[in-house]
Symmetry: C2
């Protein structure tokens, strides 16, 4: 019966620090931009005195700010710096790696991660399944941003002006067709390709979004064309779950 359902309660903790952390979390989760001492004390079942002490300490480090007029507290500049520091240090490859591994294991196909580089796309990472016939991509080589599932998934979610500028530069003749395809990709959330970039290969791909809502990368599941035709649908489902998780670690909120 003594199962701890929480996330790993470390044996040695400092309860005062946990209370202070709860206060910060409350600011992050509350709908309101400012909170009062009593309000916080009620919600966290702490005494007003304790909340006051905590706020005074957090304030001394800039994590929260006090509006002298209203006597209400809000998150401070240092809180913002914490968030930006996190975002600065995001290691996309590191975050995606376990998801790619899981995707590959689940689908039995190759999972890839690619990012935009100027007007091109390059593969950053891949995980291949342990099968005799499998697909493998070349990391670091630039491909066009409008050919193949990963490219189309990325392109579809770019702001319209940017997509159009790209298409005018690189594929003016196909602008109409590609814009229509992009519309479809946005509706279903992923792009499919059968032998488009690479003859004999099939692929489904979906974008990963950053905290500003822009596509930051694309993840694909790809394999030999013959057997991939049957798998595409089921792959897409797992793919979208993986990209959703990665996006949320980049700060994307639905």
């Amino acid at each position: 019966m003594s199962e701890d359902d929480t996330a790993q309660p470390a044996s040695q903790t400092a309860s005062t620090v946990e209370r202070a952390a709860d206060v910060l979390v409350l600011f992050a989760e509350s709908a309101r931009p400012t909170l009062g001492v009593t309000e916080i004390a009620d919600k966290l079942s702490l005494s007003k005195a304790a909340v006051h002490r905590i706020l005074a300490s957090l304030r001394s480090r800039g994590l929260v700010e006090l509006d002298e007029e209203t006597r209400r507290y809000a998150l401070g500049l240092m809180s913002m710096r914490l968030g930006l520091a996190y975002l600065d240090r995001i290691d996309l490859r590191g975050i995606a790696a376990p998801e790619l591994a899981a995707l590959s294991a689940e689908t039995g196909e190759t999972a890839t991660l690619s990012v935009r580089s100027g007007d091109s796309r390059i593969y950053l990472e891949q995980v291949t399944p342990a099968r005799e016939v499998r697909m493998s991509v070349t990391l670091g080589v630039p491909y066009p941003l409008h050919v193949g599932a990963s490219s189309k998934a990325f392109l579809a979610f770019l702001p319209e002006a940017e997509r159009d500028a790209y298409l005018t530069r690189h594929a003016p003749g196909e602008r109409g067709t590609l814009n229509e395809q992009a519309e479809h990709v946005r509706q279903v959330g992923y792009a499919v390709s059968y032998g488009e970039r690479q003859p004999g290969a099939g692929s489904v791909a979906a974008p990963v979004f950053d905290h500003t809502g822009r596509p930051a990368a694309a993840v694909s599941v790809c394999g030999p064309l013959e057997r991939f035709r049957n798998e595409a649908d089921s792959c897409a489902k797992a793919l979208l779950q993986a990209t959703t998780r990665i996006s949320s670690r980049l700060g994307h909120t639905t």
Copy 2:
């Protein structure tokens, strides 16, 4: 009469919370993405045991994460959420208001704040000086994004593709001239206008940037043309200091 605007530690604080806050700040300010217990203890002159307890507590709330492999700590998802919560709640007008008041007082002219709205710009706020002859703008009315100092300051710092798309739509004939002017605005950091949007009025304006580096608003100092010609230079200096401060509150890092 007791004006203590510094980060004065209030009489009643919780030292443990302050130590924990110091740990978080260290993560934000350190160049490295991960820190070890000993490293933190050394830098903050705390015992390893204390740091360990603090980290365990912060970890239980998701503010920091532990890489089980390397036994090193990094900022957690909750830290990111704090930052994003701060950014979500930014009250541009509230932040700018005191800066506008100071600008107006220092220059003796009108200070304004405007933001983009689609392909237009509207004044959000203004502070006028206590002089008989002064300038006043109309809040909330849309103006073109390429006429007047505030518009040009904003436009100049938009991504090239976006600026070009706008100019093609709204001022195709002046594209060359305006792009050249934009280049100059970027170099000096502000835009000047003599009677451009409003006959008889002069203005210097500079953009305010958000944490992604995009222009989020424009601040201007403006006044009656005759006397403003002599003031423009000195106004520009104060203007840039003000916009730099506002930008930093929006998370902009140089």
